[in-house]
């Protein structure tokens, strides 16, 4: 049954995967993320983190409040590289070509 309960839809991580992770000692939420892959897909945990944390709390007999979320990673949502290339915060290397004019850059 646990193999049919999906906790992370992006990476197909099931309750059985979580149980396996916990049984091997991978119980820290950061370890569980790496061992099962949950939260590493397009949603980056926005959908699945609460579900995994709740089940992890139950499996490890802790209150849910004892399990902090894993470190959230920028960007907030999947971001095309193209949107970043003219950011004024980028480091300029000595051989960087000058920025193209905005009119040439945008599609």
């Amino acid at each position: 049954m646990a193999g049919k309960i999906v906790l992370c839809r992006c990476e197909d991580v099931t309750l059985a995967d979580l149980e396996h992770s916990v049984s091997r000692g991978y119980r820290d939420i950061e370890e569980v993320k790496r061992y099962t892959g949950f939260g590493t897909g397009p949603c980056q945990g926005k959908e699945c983190l609460a579900a995994v944390a709740t089940q992890l709390a139950s499996l490890t007999q802790q209150p849910a409040a004892a399990i902090p979320p894993f470190t959230s990673r920028p960007p907030l949502s999947p971001t095309p590289l193209r949107l970043l290339v003219r950011d004024p915060g980028a480091h300029r290397f000595p051989d960087d070509p000058p920025d193209p004019a905005a009119s040439e850059q945008e599609p």
Binding site: R73, P75, D87, H91
Partner: protein, 415 residues
Amino acid sequence: MQPVLDEEEDTSRADVSGEIRLPATLEGAGPLPASAEFVIVGGGVIGLSIAYYLAKRGVNDVVVIERGYLAEGASGRNGGGVRQQWSTELNIRLMQESVELCRRFAVDIGVNVWFRQGGYLFLARSAQEVTRLEKNVALQNRCGVATRMLEPRQALTIVPELDLTGIVGAAYNPTDGILFPWPFLWGYARQAAAHGARIFTQTPVSGLDPLNTGGYLVHTPRGAVRARRVINATGAWSPKLAQMIGVEVPTFPIRHEICSSEPLKPFLRPMVSELASGLYCSQSMRGEIVGGITIPGHDSTYGMGSTLEFLATYARRLVRLMPILGDIKVLRQWAGPYDQSPDGNPILGAAPGHPDFFLACGFVGHGFMMAPIVGKLYGEWLTGGQPHEIFTRYTLDRFSGATAAHHEKEDFNIG
């Protein structure tokens, strides 16, 4: 996405319900043993590799103590590159052996680490960079690595998506590769544990007291372990552990950032790296484009925050080099510490004046790729074998005394 572990198919270990029950690899709670032949501090790839080879060679009380969770440091934060394109003969030869161990890892260790030999393509934008590559390639060829110099147009046959504007030469070795770092750690951890090693996570070392009889009392919040020998495999944190017994390790942490994209259909065979900026990227077996860049001039820090400066700089250089990647989406970025040594080479062997305190640090961002061979050589040496050259040349005392001026520098650290 979880790699298949061979134990999952080992039904002989299943109980009546069909569930496979194995002892936990990691011990995140409970007391530590009172004593051990070896205490390895640091549950990264270096410490776990050494633990595996020691345990496999019959040392039955190896203890690994990890401050946080497994893969919390640089071992869980790197790009997974494994290359033989180095600038010194010793590093080239070490990496030839490490690549061979990576090739056999899935069979030897029983974990799929998604090792893929798609090669490494280094790109030069100046005549000086070409000269540097040519010198390295000649040395690599003498060692039996089949690196070759390419004209820019030849590089296009390997990566047709490159924009060759400003590229004046390239070096390519088809047997370099990439792997998925996390299962590499799980594999070493599981096999070390299967051979009797014990791995304690969530356990910071709070003190090291030298014992009159040799060895150390290793203090932790979960109790103290009397260790016959201690191995410092704490990566960028190595100077802090060494300071507990008054040993000065001249390495320092440099934060490097890295990012990963949405998964794409496989199209990019080699790791691509541009010398001018330290830009590198590869396509993992999950399909993600994983890459980073070196932004010069940052202070030494243990901070692991992410910056827009990094992502914008990476985007700018990567899209210039491979314009087609402008449309791919970044999913996440993170950071990890390089353990920067003064000459770019690791620091190994016993600390001078401390014959029971061993160092395995200063890997400058290439500890992951060197871990298989360094762990193997350490395991052989510390179970009675002859010390390999790395334990006489990569010692801490090379930075002081009469030989300080003569040691070789490694200048091909990337990313």
